[in-house]
Amino acid sequence: MGYFMKLWQWLKAWSSPRVFYWRSGKWYGVLWPLAWLLLGIGLIGGLFIAPSDVQQGETFRILYVHVPCAFFSMALYVALVISSVGSWVFRIKVADALAQGCARWGAVLTALALLTGALWGKPMWGTGWVWDARLTSELILLFLYLGYLGLRQAFSDGQQAMRASALLAIIGGVDLPIIHYSVKWWHTLHQGPTLLKVHPAIDFSMLWPLLFWLAGFLCYAMAWVLMYARATVLIQHRHHKWVGELV
C-alpha cells in the first residue's frame, strides 16, 4: 500500500506546472538521444539488413516508416483523449498543454501515414488512394486533429477553447475502433492486421527493424510532446515567480 501511495503522490506531483517543467526537462533529455539511436538502428536494419520481400521486392521497406506513423497517429489520439479528460473534467492545466502537443504531432503523423500509404499503394495496388474503410477512417482522424487545432484558435478565451476542443477530441475517439477494426468489419483493399495477432504474419528477420522503428517513434513522440508542453506551460505561467527561478 505504501508503494501505491508513493507512486500516486509521484504521479500527482506532475500536475503542478512547476514540477512538470523541472521533471520533463530531465525526461526529455534522455528520450531525445534514445529516440535517434533507436531510429538509426531501425533505419540501417530496415534499409540494409532485412531481406527484400518475394512479392513486393524492395518496396516492402516502406512498411518501416508507414506502420510507425499509422500506429502512433492512433496512439497519440488516445493520449489526446486522456489529456482532454484530465484538463476538462479534472481541471489539470498541464494536461491541456500535453493535449495540445499530442494534437500537433498526431496531425503530422496522420498526414505522414496517409502520404506514405499512398506512396506504397501506387506501385503495389496501382493507385495511391481508394475510398476504402481503413484509408477513409484514417483521413477522418486527420480532420479530427485539424478540427481540434482549429477550434483552439477559434476562441479568444482560453477556457472556452480548452472545453470546446476537449469535447471534440473525446467524441472523436469513436473513430479509433473504427480505424482498427475496419479491415475486419469490411472487405478492404488495405491488408488485415500483421502484428497484432497471436502469431505475427511477418518473419523475425523482417520484424526486428520494425520494433526498433516503433520504439524510436515512441521515444520521439514522448520527447516532442513533453518539449511542446514545456513551452506551453512556460508561456501560460510566464508571470509566475517559479519561471524566473527555473528558466
Binding site: 534499409l47 521486392g57 518496396t59 520521439y220
Partner: protein, 42 residues
C-alpha cells in the same frame, strides 16, 4: 542491401518524407521551446 528497381523512387520518397518531418519537427520544437524560455526570462 537494396536493389535499385523500377519502384525504388517510391521507397526513397517515403523515407525522405518521414525522416525530413522528424528532423524539421525536432528543430522546430527546439526553437519553440527556446522562444518560450526567452519569454520566461524577460
Amino acid at each position: 542491401m537494396i536493389n535499385l528497381g523500377p519502384f525504388v523512387g517510391y521507397l526513397f520518397a517515403s523515407y525522405g518524407l518521414v525522416l525530413g518531418a522528424l528532423l524539421v519537427g525536432a528543430f522546430w520544437g527546439r526553437m519553440h521551446l527556446k522562444r518560450a524560455q526567452k519569454l520566461g526570462r524577460s
